[in-house]
Symmetry: C2
Subunit: 182 residues, 2 copies
């Protein structure tokens, strides 16, 4: 990856909690790290192993959500599986997503990660995709649900499921390549 | 339990899917069976073991959802944990809940089971409780969320979490004791 892209200066926070989708988060972390960006895994606690919902993968947090601020990152990623159901109950993690969203910083979700966009009231009139089980919740929150791999609407990037991790990574890279470093 | 209650004639369907809350569904089935009512466990498939989200309990289905109708039962129970997220994606199970709801038959949910009430559009103006992670989804669906052990509103009975299983059982018994056999 050429330095011309400025990607090496970009800081991405990837949230983690128990019961993430095993087929999504490790793959996404591998692809994001491969771009040369600075990737920080943010969990409820620092330096803690979180397990996927299928118990097939673990992901270790770098830092606790309470120790970071939205302005520390150029983009925040909310993972899928059942992790978002837990992240919704973590005040520091919700505040991080809300502050990033409200400041117009890019927020990317995959799968049920869109539940966090519901929680921060970020869907009104916005076109998004997600895992289909929560499509009705997205619509009730004012979102326009579409069944597509990845959707970009303003500063919100949403992806559907594990098959869409490479496409999501490409969109994240595109978005950060055109933005100035924070 | 005295036969005077008529409970032995009452037929209750309890839905099951993978990832139910281990601390709720087995306990609820034990208590319901202890009342002398006719309890049928309805899953996506018949005679199949489903595992709880903590892998601490399994529950075996009696019959497939596609083989039953709402009129076969006096009351339907939707379990909690992450099972409702899966049940929402099962057309025959959603139809069963919708048909029961639309016919005014009692529907009881616990925990995230209220997601099925969202799916069948059964929350408009109704007071309900649920696991707090989905409270915002319940509100966006037009429900009035309250943090109480068990809430009865019309033919909808909702409970919050595992601690509330005995209280939920009591309300189910009360509701069915006062209704004629279907």
């Amino acid at each position: 990856m050429s330095d011309d892209s400025g990607l090496s200066a970009k800081r991405v926070a990837v949230l983690v909690e128990e019961d993430f989708e095993d087929r999504e988060l490790p793959q996404l972390l591998d692809l994001l790290r491969g771009t040369g960006m600075q990737i920080t895994v943010v969990g409820p606690l620092a330096e803690t192993e979180y397990r996927g919902k299928r118990a097939e993968a673990t992901v270790k947090s770098d830092i606790a959500a309470g120790k970071v601020k939205a302005k520390d990152f150029d983009l925040i990623v909310v993972p899928g599986g059942y992790a978002p159901d837990r992240i919704r109950m973590r005040h520091a993690m919700v505040d991080l997503v809300r502050d990033a969203y409200d400041a117009g910083r890019p927020v990317a979700t995959i799968d049920r990660g869109a539940q966090l966009l519901i929680t921060v009231n970020g869907l009104r009139g916005r076109t998004v995709t997600c895992w289909p089980s929560i499509a009705i919740d997205v619509k009730n929150a004012g979102g326009r649900y579409v069944d597509r791999p990845v959707v970009e609407d303003g500063h919100v990037i949403t992806a559907r499921k594990w098959d869409d991790v490479p496409a999501l990574t490409d969109v994240i890279v595109k978005v950060l390549s055109r933005s100035p470093a924070a």
